[in-house]
Amino acid sequence: MAALGRVALLLSFGLVVYALVGGSFAAYRRRRRLALSAQNALIAAFGTTLVAAAVLLIALARHDFSFVYVAQHTSRSLPLGYTLSAFWGGQEGSLLLWLVVLSGYAALAVWLNRRSRELIAWVVPVLGGVATFFAFMLCFVSSPFDKAPAPADGAGMVASLQNPYMLAHPPLLYLGYVGLTIPFAFGMGALLSRRTDERWIVATRRWTLAAWTFLGVGQLIGAHWAYVEIGWGGYYAWDPVENAALMPWLVATAFLHSVMIQEKRGMLKVWNMVLVALAFNLSILGTFLTRSGVVNSIHSFSQSSIGGWFLGFIVICVVFSVGLIYIRLPLLRARTKLESLVSREATFLYNNLLLVALALTILWGVMFPLLTQAVRGETRSVSKPYYDFFLHSFGLPLLLLMGIGPLVAWRRASLRALGKTFVIPAVAAVVTGVALIAVGLGTSTPGLLAYTFSAFVFASIVLEFVRGTRATGSLTRLVSRNRRRYGGYVVHASILLLAIGIAGSSAYQTIREKGLKPGQSMQVAGYTLTYRSLFNTQQSNSQTTSAIVDVYRGGSHISTLHPGKSFFPVEGDFGNDVAIYHDPRNLGDVFTIADEFDKNGTLFLKVLVKPLVNLVWAAGFLFVFGSLVAMWPDAVEQRRLAERYEPGTAAARV
């Protein structure tokens, strides 16, 4: 079996090298059959990589411990779901997942755009180049098919990875990371083929949106995993690996906005190329940070020697993309200019600057320990206050811009028109701010600003829908005529929920910790928690000791929680089993952690009351819904684009 996996990977490597070399030659010398053959190689690479992935999955499912990878990451007692999720639990499997997703995306992108031969001819070698790196790593540096005499049982899986969220979080992140390769390849392909029209943008619009959605949802699921599994009561800790996923997402967000200016006004062509290259390079950096073990992170589950290879690849990608954009600068000159600093496109530009500035300050924070180690020989890192400062400095204006943008007209807006459109959102913001101060919630300035700005944004989104519906006669017609815009507003509403949830659960949370003997109680933010007793349970892969804690509010019993600790004997590892009461009254949580049990039966209970935290998770559903609305195909638009790029074809005539 392992031999089949190795052969399949070697075939993948040969195919993507052929796509890179043969595809480059074909595109440069304008050879049609060779270009088609290179495209086929990329499609075939998906098939061979799938065979390799199937071999690894079968080995995992059969507990074939003669595979070193299977022995290192699973055990016989591990439930089947987690056993299969070990596919992405280790370095070699993660690299294989990268290649599966990349070759799958590449095959689909090539097939969907097969009619744009002159553009796709240059896209194929770029995709082949990226795939070559990963196939090389899998064949010659970090193979999942290494064999050794099989031990009686495997080493098992890190306890914190044994969580249902881990079945979805890494694949979603990878779908996002890898998805950013497609717009990068089309952008670079457009530059290589000297096509300065918008064909590459049209071809990658949905790819970017899909990759961005996967990355966003992946991060949110990861945040929820951290919340329920790590057991410290938070969901985002500015950890380098968490930041690694946030940076490309922020840059892709900037790209999704700025690309609209190119489509509508023909401006920002250079900036869009820079963003698409930056997002891709940050996604490779993210994989490097997660997999190399060069940074200290609770999410780095492996220390390895692949860092140097990744660093080399990142340098090649940066030099290639920067060099190519520089060489093609004369082709990217815009014919139009920004007409006014008070216009929709100007607000998009401000939003872009803030998003990129936030991404770069996070990048500096992530790289700082590595740089201090390299320059001064000692590791120094930046902590939460650094990130919080920049989140407040850039994030709050971004939140406000989300409300201002939709109210401003394209090209230029007069003060009179602005006054008219701003009045309702401004009143909503002022009333909210005054009301919050009046009820005593003005203690946190960032929290107060976040809620005031949120009221402004919410009012502006509602106004957009109301005025648009009035103008078109129906909400359905309004949305179906411009899915991207109104889907975007729904996504804005989800970001709003996220901001409200984050502000509520961080700026207004209450934390208490106390040692309790059976029968004793503690008070936290209007809740009473009474510790009753302990009990033990046994699962196939762990033993758990849990406490019985009754939760009361206003004298009424509202819930019984079971915070505990699990021991994983195969792995020799402990995990926190937090228990949470979701309070529908304030959309918040009573979050309990059994910090310690002592021999006398005393429970050291940590309780966090986090108002509005459930809005953070609700935001995820709205985010997906909005993204789907924005992504949904528009037949009229597709016909128009087909007529533009493929005149005379069946697609244009439909």
């Binding site: 089949l4 075939l11 049609r32 086929n40 075939a44 007209a409 090209r411 009179r416 028109a417």
Partner: protein, 108 residues
């Protein structure tokens, strides 16, 4: 092991056949040049994109006016130049479109 290697060999043969398919289907083609848009086609694309932008801008202006984002004065001021630009791109496209159709007909 042997079983896996046979499967691997079959896979390799299938892959080679698939990759070589364009050459197997057309061993001696009359023309092996990759299509490249000519100067005329590139110009058409620029104009079509420009036309779509101008028509979109007109639609946006109309919508922004109806939803109160653009005042009556601004609307009147912007409408003329945008209409002129849309008309210019439409005019620029017309003769070329006819010319292209004529060339296509004569080549048949």
């Amino acid at each position: 092991m042997a079983y896996a290697l046979v499967l691997g060999a079959v896979l390799a043969v299938l892959v080679v056949l698939f990759v070589a398919r364009p050459f197997l289907r057309e061993p001696a083609p009359a023309d092996d040049r990759l299509d490249e848009p000519g100067a005329l086609e590139k110009r058409r694309l620029v104009l079509v994109e420009e036309r779509d932008r101008a028509l979109d801008a007109l639609k946006e202006l109309e919508f922004d006016h109806r939803t109160g984002k653009v005042s009556d004065d601004d609307y009147r001021e912007q409408l003329g130049p945008l209409r002129r630009r849309a008309a210019e791109t439409l005019r620029a496209l017309e003769p070329r479109a006819e010319g292209r159709q004529e060339r296509v007909s004569s080549s048949r």
